[in-house]
Subunit: 250 residues, 2 copies
Amino acid sequence: MPRYRLTLEYDGSVFNGYQAQDNLPTVQGVVEAAILAFCGQAIRLQAAGRTDTGVHATGQVVHADLDRDWPARTVMNALNAHMIAAPVSVLACEIGGLDDRGEEWHARFSARERRYLYRILNRPAPPALDKGRVWHVKKPLDVDAMQAAAQVFVGHHDFTTFRDVNCQSKSPEKTLDVARVTRTGEEVHLTFAARSFLHRQVRSMTGTLAEVGAGRWTLEDVRAALDARDRAACGPVAPSCGLYLTGVGY
Amino acid sequence: MPRYRLTLEYDGSVFNGYQAQDNLPTVQGVVEAAILAFCGQAIRLQAAGRTDTGVHATGQVVHADLDRDWPARTVMNALNAHMIAAPVSVLACEIGGLDDRGEEWHARFSARERRYLYRILNRPAPPALDKGRVWHVKKPLDVDAMQAAAQVFVGHHDFTTFRDVNCQSKSPEKTLDVARVTRTGEEVHLTFAARSFLHRQVRSMTGTLAEVGAGRWTLEDVRAALDARDRAACGPVAPSCGLYLTGVGY
């Protein structure tokens, strides 16, 4: 039973998140329906990360165990053909193989790094072409201040302040490897990488860093919020529309 | 009666083109309705270029003659507020003033250069996030060959082969100043600049250059097509979804 590794791109704005739910459009539901249509198998996908409603992906990774030994390119083309009406696309398909521990590769359990991008459109005019793809912040943001404050998050911390109250993770402790804030034309890009993230951690950190960019919070305020280990100390949570799961490292 | 110069961004995929038509959604119709809602004036906008159905803009320029002397920023913010539900945005608003001939500045008649970008997504997988924003070409395109062939179009030519049969322009002769083909990651970008273009000229040239990129046409075939001055000699016309009016020079 070969395991296929699928890299997915999707527009999260039309889905109720990644994870399958009865009677609601989800990314998982669309891909599983395409697999059923392609080869008649009703399977459950495993995914590297469960993205929320409205969150996009350019590099989500999932796996599907299929009964037959299809060429990987056949699987990719067939699924893309079946999903042509939905904003989900299989960018790449490979055979799973073994992971770096020598165990059968698994989309979720073999993942060593998740990477996210948060896009802020930082200009007076609202987005016309990127509506639903960026967070629109009108006032100019101080990117240098945001970049400096973002470094408060890097390293091993208790991120209780920056996780959703409904987060299912047993521990609030995570190690953030990368937090980078840069300006690209009219956009401010926040890039984060870690082995794993808590629920809404990226949006919570981004919303807080935007307060720094707007001059309402200082770097010390961010440090105090992290140290508080209290959800109530978090800044506003950035909206889902600007967030992209861009890649998974194995 | 001050003349306001508006720079517009829009998603052409939901409009029946730029130009106002009765009972059909158009960019012009949306902006004129916003002006009516803002200040009660029923006016006709003048535009630098009339984009076709499905064609986008990141730098369309139009003008509106308003009765009252509003601050430019007030006009921009008010129109954006009225258009918040439509994928049209006023990026900038300025007072028209005089053009470089010393005459009253006019969005259409003062324009000295129009700039277009054509985006091809050149990868096996269809677009999920950029559906309707790019032309999807699966097979790898030879960008160097396209760039070389594009130079055939530069200069003063009779572009009869590359204009729509319904083109209203009196003369088929135009001077193309810039034709550039570059690769940016998975995308191939074609950039064109001229004082003015014939109807569907950019899409006709792009579709023909894509034939060169696919190896089906040579540079000499492009030259022969141009020399033929015959619409039937044109390659396939590229779809509207990849085309952007990116700017107007005055």
